[in-house]
């Protein structure tokens, strides 16, 4: 019988092959898709996330786990949809206009994906208008803005204004080296995360709330 503990372990180890196998087996045996998701995949990612926060493992190990999860999800997703289970949420993440830094943004994207988010990567140097358009076309519930320069921070404020003016109702979170909670409050973002790991926690809070 497919053991959800084995599936979680496969995720933790980043063992893509086993993760896919156990997922298939579980579904064949009639285990509920929701149970496979929660007790297997999400449980495994939860362990790796905790280890990462405790500085026991590094981001490459998190990414390997996330890739194993992604492969298993490809098997699981149709069944989840059938069963009417919704993904955690859709997020749109990008670096604001004038700013080319993408590693922070990319880390957040990878970690959100690893936590069950569907993520649209808006890229770098994204103008306020382009953000509005992508927000509309993607229907994202969550928008993440990144800026690494003091001189592109103001573009964050402009982007938030443009999104609000366009009636986009998604929650907006921001981050990047020069960003502070005070700045987030000032420009009326819904939240600020000092690093990629806390961005995931924040995203969860914002989407569940």
């Amino acid at each position: 019988m497919a053991d959800m503990k084995d599936l979680a372990d496969a995720i933790i180890k980043g063992d893509m092959k086993t993760a896919v196998e156990v997922t298939k087996k579980a579904l064949d045996e009639g285990v509920e898709p929701q149970k496979v998701l929660n007790d297997g995949l999400v449980a495994g990612m939860g362990v790796i996330g905790k280890r990462f926060k405790a500085n026991e493992v590094y981001i490459p190990e998190v990414l390997i786990a996330a890739r194993a999860m992604k492969s298993a999800m490809e098997v699981l997703e149709p069944k989840l949809t059938e069963a009417g289970v919704e993904p955690v949420g859709k997020a749109l993440i990008g670096t604001v206009q004038g700013d080319l830094h993408d590693i922070g943004k990319n880390l957040v994207i990878m970690m959100l994906k690893g936590n069950g988010f569907e993520v649209v990567d808006a890229g770098v140097d994204v103008s306020p208008d382009a953000f509005v358009e992508k927000a509309r076309s993607s229907g994202a519930k969550l928008i993440g803005l990144s800026a690494l320069l003091t001189t592109t921070m103001p573009a964050m404020e402009k982007t938030i204004q443009a999104l609000r003016n366009a009636g986009v109702e998604a929650k907006i979170m921001i981050g990047g080296a020069p960003i502070t909670q005070a700045y987030s409050d000032k420009i009326q973002a819904d939240g600020y995360a000092p690093d990629a790991a806390s961005a995931v926690d924040l995203a969860m809070d914002l989407v569940v709330a």
């Binding site: 590094y58 981001i59 490459p60 320069l149 001189t151 020069p178």
Partner: protein, 458 residues
């Protein structure tokens, strides 16, 4: 490049003294015996646009006035000022050049009125990444970059630098996956090829105008790795190895004619000094305003210029942050120069304290230890081309860290030791031949579309 080190004895590996001295600006001599402060700065939170341009100018005026006043007050013997353009200022070259002119004029006046010896380093922000995938050798952004370069001498720049980004399309991905092969590809293949093209262009301009071609930095690679390691995202051993991998790439600029001082944020500097004899600018505790690091003191051990990396023009309790940095750099340099005035034995003494105070505690500090730099440099230059050199850099750094952590000379965290093994295994799978690596990398689906091989002559 000859296959011998320019500095091959530890007793000749000294701060303030480089085999090839750089003379520039208003009586500035770099590597001639004294360590020189290099001050860096950037704007506070603000938009750079037509409407704000007056305000931008005012900011730079305030910065340079404060910095020069403090330098005069503290009787700084020589000063290097670095102005790094922001993307908007490369993309509208006249903007970048206007600030360059402003700074040069103020420095001229200060030299005339107070005798402050100084030189201005213009660092061009590499905007070619605005295209994705980047066009490295043509197009609007390359044109903008050339535009500011072509105006730099007239605007009063004494030295030119750049933090070029060739290969960064692969570099980020390589870092977060701790993929040493992709890191070598990004730095030793793509980066090195772009540097050859780019620095050939820069030195050509410099030869025509007398501006000094100074150096390039693997900042976007090795410093990103350092920052990720500080955030516990990637193992410190990997960041240490990436630092060493960056050496052959940065050497390309020198082979193309760059004279130094190398860029402050190029912590690979000590390797460049040992191998090529150029004076180097370094930063460490002085740059804590810009990034936290595990190499605050060891980075100082063999420097010729000593920098703060960058700080916004914001008000501290005392003065604006650039003035605060100016003061701290001045005192750090005073200490080094007073010891140097006693002779080589004292330089070595202070150098070794700076080195010993950090190097046993972190692999990133350890690979900057002067003895280790010489050991690894020797192995790097035994190789023929940047790819082979980068591969050897990674291999020797990994070996040295394994060996010396076993001997208790450098502390490596328990959960990082296995990464050394994993990296070693990765290295064993890499081909000795560059063409083969290129082949492998071109086939990797995650890199497809990220970069344009033709832009690297591939």
């Amino acid at each position: 490049m000859a296959n011998t080190l320019k500095i091959n004895k530890i007793e000749n590996f000294l701060y303030g003294k480089a085999p090839s001295v750089v003379r520039c600006g208003r009586e500035v001599e770099i590597g001639a015996g004294q360590v020189i402060p290099e001050i860096n700065f950037t704007l506070p939170m603000m938009t750079i646009d037509d409407k704000n341009w007056c305000e931008v100018i005012k900011q730079y005026e305030e910065i340079i006035d404060g910095v020069l006043k403090r330098a005069v007050r503290l009787e700084v013997p020589q000063l290097l000022v670095e102005f790094e353009t922001l993307p908007e200022m490369t993309n509208r070259p006249q903007w970048g050049l206007e600030i360059t002119r402003l700074l040069a004029d103020k420095m001229d006046r200060c030299y005339r009125d107070y005798g402050l010896k100084s030189a201005l380093r213009l660092t061009i922000n590499d905007v070619r990444e605005f295209n994705r995938p980047p066009l490295m050798r043509s197009g609007k952004y390359w044109g903008n970059l050339c535009g500011i370069l072509e105006g730099s001498a007239e605007a009063g720049a004494d030295l030119i630098a750049i933090e070029s980004t060739g290969g960064k399309e692969i570099g980020d991905e390589a870092l977060v996956n701790c993929d040493v092969g992709a890191s070598i590809f990004a730095l030793g293949v793509l980066g090195a090829r772009d540097m050859e093209f780019l620095w050939n262009h820069i030195t050509d301009y410099c030869n025509r105008t007398g501006v000094v071609p100074s150096g390039d930095s693997a900042c976007g690679f090795a410093n990103t790795a350092m920052v990720l390691a500080e955030q516990n995202m990637i193992p410190r051993v990997f960041a240490a190895i990436v630092r060493v991998i960056s050496v052959p790439r940065s050497l390309v600029a020198i082979r193309q004619g760059a004279k130094g001082p190398t860029k402050d944020c190029a912590y690979e500097g000590p390797y460049l000094k040992a191998i090529a004899g150029v004076p180097i600018s370094m930063e460490g505790k002085s740059a804590a305003c810009a990034h936290l690091s595990p190499v605050g003191n060891v980075s100082q051990a063999v420097c010729d210029c000593w920098s703060n990396e960058s700080t916004q023009n914001i008000r501290m309790l005392s003065a604006n942050a650039p003035t605060v940095s100016m003061e701290q750099l001045a005192y750090d340099c005073r200490l080094m120069n007073v010891a140097a005035s006693e002779g080589i034995e004292s330089i070595i003494r202070l150098r070794d304290w700076l080195s010993e105070s950090d190097s046993p505690l972190d692999p990133q500090a350890y690979v900057l230890k002067p003895e280790i730099v010489l050991e690894i440099s020797e192995r790097i230059i035994a190789q023929d081309n940047p790819y082979e050199q980068s591969l050897e850099a990674a291999r020797s750094a990994t070996e040295v860290l394994k060996r010396d952590s076993r001997e208790g000379k450098v502390k490596i965290k328990e959960n990082e030791l296995k990464w050394l093994d994993m990296i070693e295994q990765q290295l064993e799978t890499l081909p000795e031949d560059e063409e083969q690596l290129i082949e492998q990398m071109l086939q990797r689906p995650e890199f497809r579309g990220k970069f344009l091989p033709a832009e690297y002559g591939i």
